[in-house]
């Protein structure tokens, strides 16, 4: 490929690409992100290649493997253009029909389109599905239109226009002013204004400066950064390049988890292509600006997502955070001024430059501008990645986009901000989601994880889970985190096992104050949040566990018992056959009883009991009723009676 030597040549190449692309030419896209790979999109792709060849359509139909579309619950996803027909949960066996019916005969394959589980309404196009309809996909939306390995695709959707604008029309200071005016806040957790961070780094004295992409995404259940890096790596590179130009850096690093092999593969391929085209390297587009990017694969420590620990890790040292100040903007990688931003922040930069600060700030709330990508997971019908304008309510996210709670269960809370975030109960569902509101509610934006919980989740156990995660991921450098989180975990474990003591809640609060204020880094400082927010909103559950040995959600194994209601039991033997512990006493026509000493509380009997009987139930906080005397246990069937 010839090197592009100027912005004029870049524009010419873009026009050339667009002129060869016929928007009417059928194009079939298949989501090929990590989530869809887990649901075997590669087999679908192979079937599609085969079928297109079989039907002689290889030259007349364009087949594009794109990045993540976001509706991961329903993957693998196929969209057929120009009509925009969207098929969900596509299996290899569906391919011949899709090709002959939709691509050739222009008909819809009804069974593969979206059907709303509550209203039964059908939607043919992606944009008509409620999950997508209520989003504003300014950043993530490009994923569906490009092959992440194709620079041509990125150029065709307007890629590198922001870079052209910056290199030809703007001074570094003007770029920083624009980002400042856009009030773009860091999407990785802290929400610090990116423009101010850039300015501090630009103004810091140093012979070399560095820019870093933080793709060490580690929150359980969150994968926004992975999907951007996998699905649109050029956008991240363009944002980084613009930042480097503004700050005066000539070297950049991408710190990406090695557990994200596809992200690593796609970004490395993008860097290689960008180098070949002269969009990285010396004298980029003859602007006199030099910039190179290196990729560093993280070895799997959550704490390395903290910027000072990330820098330590990049330097080849143990990934432990350092005290700030000095901030990385002043003394960062190799002691030089360094600017670190998260993947999503960098991916927003081309948007900010292309739209301009005025338009960008028209979206969002007073203190938080633009959109935010959330990873909506847990007990919600539509799980996946959602991008919404700042200020949308939690209720809209959970119900309009997420489609509500499955199985007719009740909403209990939503955890935002990852393991160091907090949970929001029903009373806060109408809260507008932005950086400041979430912080005010005792949680935080974090990198954008959202875990929906239903009534079957025990909030004490939920806090215990996160503290367990954090204790595991603590680097161990400072006492408040290493010892404090461990002690909090011990107390929570004790409470969920029915061994809670009076004063445990107060002790948790005391330990939370120590870790929250005296820990060295954000991991330790944020660690008490799951505990404090569950105490704040669900104190009664803590008290029930401690005072009454009762788990109201019927979830903590040590506090529940399985009980067979003798009035309802029809002695069908279903539960007894499923019980792995031989803990069901009963026989034909003999009301079944759970032998409590043998019961391992696996719940198999509850699942096995036919719904029409509903005889098995969980109880907590009360003694198991005594079983019927042996002589009353025999069931006399009505049919036999007569």
């Amino acid at each position: 490929m010839p090197r592009i030597n100027s912005t004029a040549e870049l524009d010419a190449l873009r026009l050339d690409i667009l002129s060869t692309r016929n928007p009417e030419k059928p194009c079939i896209t298949l989501c090929s992100g990590s989530a869809c790979q887990a649901t075997h999109c590669r087999k679908v792709a192979a079937a599609l290649d085969l079928e297109l060849e079989k039907q002689g359509l290889t030259n007349t139909v364009h087949f594009r493997k794109t990045g993540c579309h976001g509706f991961c619950e329903q993957g693998p996803i196929i969209v057929i253009y120009p009509e925009g027909v969207c098929y969900l949960k596509v299996q290899p066996a569906d391919i011949p029909e899709i090709v002959s019916q939709t691509l050739v005969a222009k008909k819809i394959v009804e069974r593969l389109i979206y059907v709303d589980p509550t209203t039964g309404e059908k939607a043919v196009k992606e944009e008509d599905i409620p999950f997508y309809k209520n989003q504003q996909r300014l950043v993530l939306g490009l994923n569906t239109r490009i092959d992440p390995k194709s620079l041509e695709d990125y150029l065709a959707v307007g890629g590198y226009q922001a870079l052209t604008k910056v290199l030809t029309e703007m001074s570094p200071e003007q770029v920083i002013d624009e980002v400042k005016a856009a009030s773009l806040r860091g999407r990785g957790g802290g929400g610090f204004p990116a423009g101010l961070k850039w300015e501090a780094c630009r103004n810091a004295t140093g012979d070399a400066k560095y820019v870093i992409v933080n793709c060490d995404e580690g929150d359980p259940g969150a994968y926004m950064d992975r999907s951007l890096m996998e699905g649109n790596p050029y956008c991240v590179l363009e944002g980084l390049l613009i930042g480097a130009y503004a700050i005066g850096a000539h070297e950049g690093y991408i710190y990406v988890r090695q557990e994200y092999p596809l992200a690593v593969e796609n970004v490395m391929a993008a860097i290689k292509t960008a180098e070949e085209f002269g969009l990285l390297g010396k004298n980029i587009l003859s602007s006199g600006f030099d910039f190179i990017i290196k990729v560093h694969k993280g070895a799997g420590a959550f704490v390395c997502g903290e910027e000072t620990a990330l820098i330590m890790s990049l330097e080849g040292k143990v990934g432990e955070p350092k005290s700030r100040p000095p901030y990385p903007a002043v003394r960062g990688l190799w002691g030089k001024p360094t600017n670190i931003n998260n993947v999503e922040t960098w991916a927003n930069i081309p948007l900010v430059i292309n739209k301009g600060a005025a338009e960008f700030t028209s979206i969002g709330t007073e203190g938080s501008k633009g959109t935010k990508i959330f990873s909506l997971v847990g007990k919600v019908n539509n799980t996946g990645l959602v991008e919404v304008p700042m200020g949308v309510t939690l209720r809209d996210i959970v119900y309009k986009i997420g489609g509500g709670i499955p199985g007719g269960k009740k909403y209990k809370a939503i955890q935002t901000g990852g393991p160091a975030g907090g949970c929001m109960p029903e009373s806060l569902l109408d809260m507008e989601v932005d950086f400041d509101q979430l912080t005010k509610a005792g949680s935080m934006m974090g990198s954008g994880g959202m875990i929906v919980l239903d009534e079957e989740t025990c909030m004490v156990d939920f806090a215990r889970y996160f503290l367990g995660f954090l204790a595991d991921e603590s680097c161990g450098k400072c006492v408040p985190c290493r010892e404090g989180v461990k002690q909090m975990l011990n107390i929570l474990t004790r409470i969920t096992r029915g061994k809670g003591k009076q004063g445990d809640i107060e002790l948790l609060e005391e330990l939370a104050e120590v870790a929250g204020s005296a820990a060295l880094c954000a991991l330790g400082k944020g660690a008490p949040n799951p505990v404090l927010s569950t105490i704040r909103h669900f104190r009664d559950e803590y008290e029930a566990h401690i005072n009454d040995r009762n788990c109201p959600a019927l979830s903590c194994k040590e506090l529940i018992s399985y009980y067979i209601d003798p009035e309802k039991c029809q002695a069908c033997l279903s539960c007894g056959r499923k019980c792995p512990a031989e803990a069901i006493d009963g026989g034909k026509n003999l009301v079944h009883v759970v032998i409590q000493d043998k019961c391992t509380k696996c719940g198999s009997c509850l699942e096995a009991c036919p719904a029409r009987f509903g005889a098995v139930r969980k109880i907590s906080g009360e003694p198991v009723p005594a079983s019927l005397p042996q002589e009353s246990r025999t069931i006399v069937r009505k049919s036999k009676q007569s």
Binding site: A301, V318, S323, P325, P326, A471, D472, E473, S474, C475, G476, K477, C478, V479, P480, R482, E483, G484, V485, K486, Q487, N490, E510, L511, E513, V514, S517, A518, A519, L520
Partner: protein, 202 residues
């Protein structure tokens, strides 16, 4: 070098730019407790017992005095009820590991800490890292280091280096705030296991 004016516990204090709060406080005789600090070694900020409250840029926060650089007009408080609670709690958590440490016992008296507050996990080590940093920074031998992370983290002598260097040195032993027991114990174990190695192979 330029001088800065700050306030510590209501007193005006002058300090050179680049000094830490701990140094500035010590220069005027204000004492802040420390455990992992050693003037010859790079500050670590691990024990957090030197936590102080600062008002800077319109916010009050708790910072480690051994690391936080002084700023013009910084307001520092070294003794508040919140800090007393934090230090008491930290001492209690460390005493679960090293109940007999004299330094911890003295701090326990000062802050009213209960050494039996948490279940004992007697490891002697409070991860101050003095031995590790002394060996690396002063002796430049790296015979002792940390292994693993979080609650599983522990200090460990590297047998190959320790067998050559440690018997003649042992300069880290008196630095240990929880008596030298742990260091000695780990060292002996490391050396014995290495000495055992050829025998086992034989």
């Amino acid at each position: 070098m330029s001088e800065l004016l700050l306030q510590i516990d209501g007193r005006e204090v002058t300090a050179r730019a680049g000094a830490t709060i701990l140094e500035a406080a010590q220069s005027v005789g204000i004492s802040i407790p420390t455990l992992c600090h050693h003037e010859k070694l790079e500050a670590h900020g691990g024990c957090r017992i030197c936590s102080v409250e600062v008002d800077a840029r319109g916010r009050t926060s708790v910072v480690a005095a051994c690391l936080y650089p002084v700023e013009q007009d910084l307001v520092v408080r070294t003794r508040t009820r919140k800090l007393e609670r934090i230090r008491k709690s930290l001492v209690e958590m460390m005493m679960a590991h090293a109940p007999d440490s004299e330094q911890l016992q003295a701090l326990a008296v000062e802050y009213g800490a209960d050494k039996d507050r948490y279940g004992k996990e007697v490891s002697f080590c409070i991860h101050c890292g003095l031995c590790v940093r002394y060996c690396a920074e002063i002796k430049k031998k790296n015979a002792v280091g940390f292994i693993d992370r979080g609650p599983r983290k522990e200090i460990c002598f590297i047998p190959e280096i320790a067998a050559k260097e440690c018997w003649e040195c042992k300069e880290c032993f008196p630095l240990c705030p929880t008596s030298a027991l742990q260091a000695a114990f780990v060292l002996v174990k490391a050396l014995t296991s290495q000495a055992d190695e050829p025998e086992r192979k034989a």
